[in-house]
Symmetry: C2
Subunit: 654 residues, 2 copies
Amino acid sequence: MINSDYKKLESITLDPIQIKDLIWKHYVRLVKDVIIPYQWGILNDREDIEEPSHCISNFKIAAGEMKGEFQGAVFQDTDIAKWLEAVAYVLAGDRDEELERIADETIDLIGRAQEKDGYLNTYFTIKEPEQKWKNLKEGHELYTAGHMIEAAVAYYQTTGKDKFIKIVSKLADLISEKFGPLKGQCHGYPGHQEIELALVKLYRVTKNLKYLETAKYFIDQRGIGDNYFLQEEKKESYKQIFPDFHNYDVKYSQSHQPVREQQSAEGHAVRAVYMYSAMVDLAYEYNDKELLSACQNLWNNIVQKRMYITGGIGSSGILERFTTDYDLPNDSNYSESCASIGLALFGLRMAQITRDARYYDVVERALYNTVLSGIGMDGKSFFYVNPLEVWPDNCLERTSKEHIKARRQKWFGVACCPPNIARTLASLGQYIYGIDDSSLYVNLYISNQVTADLNGNRYQIEMESEFPKDGLIRFTIERIAGEQKEIKIAFRIVGEARDFQVFRCGKELESIKIEKGYMEIEDCFIKETITIKYNAKARFIRANPSVREDAGKVAVMKGPFVYCFEEVDNGTNLASIYIDTKQKPMERFESELMNGICVITCKGKKISKANWKEQELYASREVEFEDIELKAVPYYSWGNRKGGEMMVWMKEIL
Amino acid sequence: MINSDYKKLESITLDPIQIKDLIWKHYVRLVKDVIIPYQWGILNDREDIEEPSHCISNFKIAAGEMKGEFQGAVFQDTDIAKWLEAVAYVLAGDRDEELERIADETIDLIGRAQEKDGYLNTYFTIKEPEQKWKNLKEGHELYTAGHMIEAAVAYYQTTGKDKFIKIVSKLADLISEKFGPLKGQCHGYPGHQEIELALVKLYRVTKNLKYLETAKYFIDQRGIGDNYFLQEEKKESYKQIFPDFHNYDVKYSQSHQPVREQQSAEGHAVRAVYMYSAMVDLAYEYNDKELLSACQNLWNNIVQKRMYITGGIGSSGILERFTTDYDLPNDSNYSESCASIGLALFGLRMAQITRDARYYDVVERALYNTVLSGIGMDGKSFFYVNPLEVWPDNCLERTSKEHIKARRQKWFGVACCPPNIARTLASLGQYIYGIDDSSLYVNLYISNQVTADLNGNRYQIEMESEFPKDGLIRFTIERIAGEQKEIKIAFRIVGEARDFQVFRCGKELESIKIEKGYMEIEDCFIKETITIKYNAKARFIRANPSVREDAGKVAVMKGPFVYCFEEVDNGTNLASIYIDTKQKPMERFESELMNGICVITCKGKKISKANWKEQELYASREVEFEDIELKAVPYYSWGNRKGGEMMVWMKEIL
């Protein structure tokens, strides 16, 4: 390992974290109780979904244990990888012999499907053995390998079992041999980034520097000289995989420029943020200030100009891509669940390396809104795309709103999001705290209980957050083992709420040291009780006037939650409603509504149709209004009741 | 000919109409002076455009006079057909020996490219002789034949020469033999409608009933039983032409239902309105009330729920299609120039058969706005797509706004619109008047001079319209030959303007007989001078509140002209501007601006960016305004000066 100038924070290992939060507890439980069994059924083609997965069958065929053809997408193997990664995290908190047995057996199957040289990818093994590594642009071999590696690392970390890590190490050895700068090596890089951050993880558990070097090679090589993918297409050995994928735009895979020179987030959003995450990892490992500076530029471009208020990214439904600064259409955007997961991964890394709380404002935004909206309260329905405005009637096939679904779907042909959400929920704990030798950073106010080692001592930590209802946070920490040593506790100051009080053992602190958005409480010894009172009242938020789609509109937030207005509460034609922002929004906790949510109501007016004849499309008639009472629910919860219209940015009476 | 119950109006033959209108004169002149020579250069590959036409070359190759491969689209031949049709109309008003010689030579070339059996289509003759009639869905053979027939009919009508009509009659004979209900005949119909209305035209000049019967067959057969195109795809002989054209939706070509059962306008907008036009023709010829009723339903669905204020149709950029009721997005619509031409053709026929002026309100809307916006003031640049809102920065390739161009283009790979606009401008006269034995209907207030035969007499007619400036219309009619007989003159009452005065020979008429939107002036003898004073002051128009995209917005119109706001006059970020509709808009004629236009100014306010930091994307900051003076120009004229943003529907202070 190279010595880094950066004092990086680490996450607390997942095993001991128990999520007790009002909102999150339900979803985290769903992972084990519903999502993992449901997805296991899908992977084994036992669920009635439109496009069966075939995932387990493909591995059996590749292992020579079943006859048949490969079926599914070229990256179908990743479904099992992400499922195993989620299982690994679940096993951390809650050992379950039966689940572990199934996982072990699945890992064994994966091992048997691996080729002798380490190659592991059922699509190419079964269907296109001659095409291995010949279509990096579309083949997703390195992407799939990355997810396998991530799963194996997680499984090793939480179970201690090393069979899976040995399988993927063999694969990673093959990749490190195949790709690199030497003569005879392939000078390509993945069409869909993912392996880079996975190889860093594998390096961190195996300490095999070769993996880190390969990750660095992929990042450094990208966008250098003649574009690899455009050269690849011209080779005789090239065979197209996606027939409709013409006129490749190299920006799609962020290979239009050397990564260090990239100033704006371009192309496919998931590819982008997975790559940026790896870039932060490598900036740390190689003490690479230029690379970190590129990460900062790219981060700023996203969060200052190309991100939805929900933490969604990817403004275009076509190619799931970033578009241009301030282009944030609400009804035709992509904002893939996976892209927000990637944004959270990127932000987590940036926060860890810089110890700057502002990154967490965005991580929180993504997790509480777009990631959470990606999954239904039943754990069996998912959004791939997360619009901020839906009028179901015009979400038609073969239009530019074809990708917008007004209802969560049971599964998807390209099923990246559901297992990705599962692994994110199962590993939620990693986002809450950051630690170094002698400091504990509290990043997210999600109620939990955990033990952590700090400065050689063991501490019992408990956090009770009233975040969904109000801004009260009670935090206690107690040394349960070890000798007398002080530690520092740093609480992230929630981005919007500059208005707060802090109490240490019941006494309000008059002056608080603030460092990069964290309030630091030093000299903590045996036991501390810290209470923070944030002003978490509902508030109206506006977008920078350069965001044309939001001009004259207002969004409602409460704490980290973005709110939305649904047809079931507010009637149809939400576009014709104006909120009266002069009147304070009212809050009401409804314990029976969707597991308990805080509802926000406000006053408004709606354009009246009363004077219009149905057959009149245009007229010089003046606008008339009727008064209306409006009700908003958290964005993540939308679409869990009756279908219908939904809107985040509402018109405002000005 | 079957006796029809419908007393259909006819257009005045084009020869004698001289367009003298302030606005239209420029464009009509452009046809002869610029568009026809420019397009001739393109057809001969002498203009420097991105995708050369190859059109003339294809005919030479097909005629065996040149070596080479077919190049261009499968419907490339239609470019020459539409060009010849425009030439025919131009020759009507203004004989030009050199132009006529070129046209005659081109017709000769077309004749030599025709196969012995009458088949005429260079794509199939040169490239796919085995595939004739085997892919009606994509092949455009009948569509191309339709445009050839239309051109030939026009050329015959205006020059009296019959060579071209003989060529297309041979082709039509082949088609009438090939398609029909008999055993051994093909029971298909065109993938792109157009031939139906063309065959009716051919029947009307040749009196050959076979052509009318074939047109009727195509209409009657459509959408009956198992869909022809889906059956065709399954045949062994089927060969796909457009590789990306998968999962054919039969609505695309209006073949989802028998046409008489269709209640809403679906699918590709141009296909739809071309078909509806033919349906009106056939309803007249066959006295078919059921068919006319279907036309009325479809018309109402379009103009009451699916049409832009500019007369644009086709809300979706993808598949250039209708979507759903009230779905009228302004920044991503298609509104193809050809679709508005088709809507005008449909409306013209409906007005002629019903003698109801309301159809003309829409014809006028389409011609004055979307059709005219399709061509630049230079006559050498064209819009294919006619959005109502453009922010050039986000009209990016590979997004849902890819089809939106902020500048008119020199030409298009699929070049249907430019020659279609040319033939429409060249035949503008057909829209102005309708006649029967003893009545003259004045439909559009476009200044012109014409002689017309009515009730056996010859009349000299002159209309001077101040429409672009105000609502004054001076109309004179004088009998110049024939005996004493009275005629009726019916003036269309402009849809919006219920406020008008009429003067007959200087004396205001107190009571006016109004019949289906026409004011009728009877007993006109030797000479009449009619003056109409419309209130043509600028007015604010609002959309039905069900149009979500226009809620809280207002458009400005003056007479038939829809106005728009351009960045060059109003600065950037038009979405952040509110119009103060409490203050009257002001008008000012600027004779130097774009050949003379009436500019409209109004007061407003603009959301201020002053308090926002560039890096702030979302904040709870309140909205602040700055006052702004706004300037609007007619929609048709947009994009003729500096590029930039454009917007029709503006926010309104409410």
